[in-house]
């Protein structure tokens, strides 16, 4: 019996309402976080930062955001790339207009700006549902990218039409610009991810989360119970866009360093994040993380094996990876349509009873 919940009795409702009601889970997660904060910064190098850790963190935030809207509240969105762009451009405008502003504040405010934009683009959701809403959000994706291309004010009239992240410091250490040490950018992103994952968990297990899920599962019944549909949907758009905005700001400031809207925040980014949450599991915080890790790390893994290990030509491998990832997505969706998080849950349920399945 490696994994047990027997002997782990709940004597109070607060005990039962914990994020990880099973002590074993709790300790694994705490140990994992401790490792991520204390040990990894000493081991990290440029490669791990740029190819693995920072992208996984940044995309996890975006996946969390979209999962709140789509997985929890049932509103399909294809505007993720556009909302990330809003976060990125907000952080750029803020930090170039107020160079002294603390970077934590800049990123948070960028999330706030994106939340407001999200509310505006969420308004049609009262009238249109499902597939049609997806198309409406697609329009917002194209509109936002077009806007950031067309209006020079957003890129401070730079000749290239690009935005580039100036060097900024947190506690005297650069977290953006070419001289930022890998451990610093990693820790900066990790802090946001851990704090906001916790907040997402709290929101989704409480009143607000239940009202989102009620709208998702049966909007008429939800309304008759006292859930105001418009307010609830807009709150999901706001919170979701806040997360996606933060992710976009970090993606630009910390990871890319320079960005051009069509390249960095195009429609394929919207699909990427949608794949993440479908693969990981709709309506699951944990699933957002595995989904993001899967979509980011699989290509890295394949590339290492095929180019590094087998010595195949890079362009051939790039195409092969596309096909392999597509195949894997289909495979997982057939094996478990509810995503990797569900696969994990089922495995755990089996482990929990092992070796006595009945």
């Amino acid at each position: 019996m490696f994994y047990r919940e027997s002997g782990d009795f709940k004597t109070s409702y607060s005990g039962d309402q914990q994020i990880f009601p099973i002590a074993f889970d709790r300790w694994v997660v705490i140990a994992f976080c401790a490792f991520a904060f204390v040990v990894v910064p000493f081991l990290i190098n440029d490669y791990w930062e740029k190819s693995v850790l920072v992208p996984v963190l940044v995309w996890s935030l975006a996946a969390l955001g979209l999962n709140i809207l789509t997985g929890y509240c049932g509103q399909v969105s294809l505007g993720t790339g556009g909302f990330m762009a809003v976060g990125a451009y907000a952080s750029y405008k803020l930090t170039t207009s107020f160079p002294e502003m603390n970077m934590f504040i800049v990123i948070l405010l960028s999330g706030g700006v994106t939340a407001l934009v999200g509310i505006v683009f969420g308004l049609p959701s009262l009238r249109i549902k499902g597939f049609y809403l997806a198309v409406a959000t697609l329009a917002s994706q194209f509109f936002l990218v077009w806007l950031f291309n067309k209006v020079p004010w957003f890129y401070n009239y730079s000749a290239s039409g690009q935005i580039s992240a100036p060097e900024r410091f947190v506690f005297g250490i650069a977290i953006s610009g070419p001289n930022s040490p890998p451990w610093a950018t990693y820790l900066f992103c990790l802090t946001f991810v851990v704090v906001f994952a916790l907040i997402a968990k709290n929101l989704t297990r409480g009143r607000l989360g239940r009202s989102w899920m009620a709208i998702r599962d049966m909007d008429i019944a939800a309304e008759i119970i006292g859930v105001p549909p418009l307010k609830t949907k807009l709150s999901a758009f706001a919170v979701s866009s806040f997360y996606i905005g933060i992710s976009g700001a970090l993606f630009f400031m910390v990871y890319l360093g320079a960005a051009e809207p069509t390249e960095a925040f195009g429609i394929e980014k919207s699909f990427l994040v949608l794949f993440m949450i479908i693969i990981g599991g709709l309506g699951s915080i944990f699933g957002s993380f595995i989904g993001a890790a899967f979509m980011i790390l699989m290509p890295v893994l394949f590339k290492n094996i095929m180019v590094g290990g087998l010595g195949w030509p890079t362009d051939l491998v790039a195409h092969l990876i596309f096909m392999l990832i597509g195949g894997l997505i289909m495979f997982f969706l057939i094996v478990e349509p509810h995503g990797l998080a569900q696969l994990w849950r089922v495995t755990k349920e089996k482990l929990r009873l092992w070796p006595f399945p009945h």
Partner: protein, 264 residues
């Protein structure tokens, strides 16, 4: 629950309600009242307009004519979620549970209107948010015990059998602790044993919590047993209104149920 209205006085009154969908006259000039503390049955053949009546009461349909008075106040053109706040809860003819959520979460959602901590505290899950969550959990556990659904507390309701889903839906409506409970065919499709359980619950809710109940039911035995007064609808019109005994003897009702043709 703390209404000024004493038991036996009028809790809800509908006056001259007319509702039509295009050419279909679902309700025509319907008036009746529901007294505080009673079990009021609404009966009638299929398509009589019973469910439409409930939809009017909880603000889902807006009648072309007529007034709805609740708790002593005239209620005009309200949205369903506003009606919920006034203290009216309901169940549906076709189960309308939140299928992806557990029994517990369904019932907790039923208490939505009673919860009020702001986003900040909810995000932290501390202080008022945690306290509120626990208080409401206690109330919900009461209902879970009352309905004897402890063993399915954490089960996603989509996986439950039909009879259990009906029971959970009643639980969700009870969780709101409303003044008026509208039940649309709570026993439809149930076997005898399940029906008996459901009758027990309805009567207990009425006795123990003093909740006023309006229910639609096709099973005449059940209706005669548990209701204080019955209103009969047919083709959108009111046929009769009175105690079960009076209604049973009413010639128009007998005709309607025996299927005497309307032209004759």
């Amino acid at each position: 629950m703390n209404s000024q209205i004493a038991p036996g006085e009028t809790l809800l009154e509908v006056k001259n309600i007319s509702l039509s969908f295009g050419g279909v006259k679902a309700l025509q000039d319907i008036s009746f009242d529901i007294l505080k503390g009673e079990v009021r049955a609404i009966i009638g053949p299929n398509g009589a307009g019973k469910s439409s009546m409930l939809n009017v009461i909880n603000g889902f349909y807006h009648p072309q004519q007529g007034e709805v008075w609740f708790d002593g106040k005239l209620r005009t053109q309200m949205k369903p979620h506003e009606v919920a706040k006034l203290g009216i809860a309901r169940t549906f003819q076709n189960i309308a549970l939140f299928k992806g959520m557990s029994t517990l979460d369904n019932l907790m959602t039923g208490r939505m209107i009673k919860m009020k901590t702001n986003l900040f505290w909810q995000a932290l899950w501390k202080g008022p948010a945690e306290k509120e969550e626990q208080e409401h959990r206690e109330r919900v556990e009461h209902i879970i015990e009352f309905l004897k659904i402890q063993s399915i507390r954490k089960t996603p309701v989509g996986r439950l059998p039909y009879g259990m889903q009906k029971r959970v839906e009643l639980g969700r409506a009870l969780a709101a602790e409303s003044k008026l409970l509208l039940l649309d065919e709570p026993m439809a499709g149930m076997n005898l044993e399940e029906k008996e359980d459901m009758c027990r619950f309805v009567l207990d809710v009425n006795d123990e919590f003093g909740t006023t109940i309006a229910l639609i039911e096709h099973d005449m035995g059940v209706v005669m047993d548990i209701s204080d007064r019955v209103v009969v609808l047919d083709y959108g019109e009111k046929l009769a209104d009175g105690t079960p005994d009076e209604v049973r003897k009413n010639q128009a009702v007998i005709d309607a149920y025996l299927g005497v043709s309307h032209e004759s």
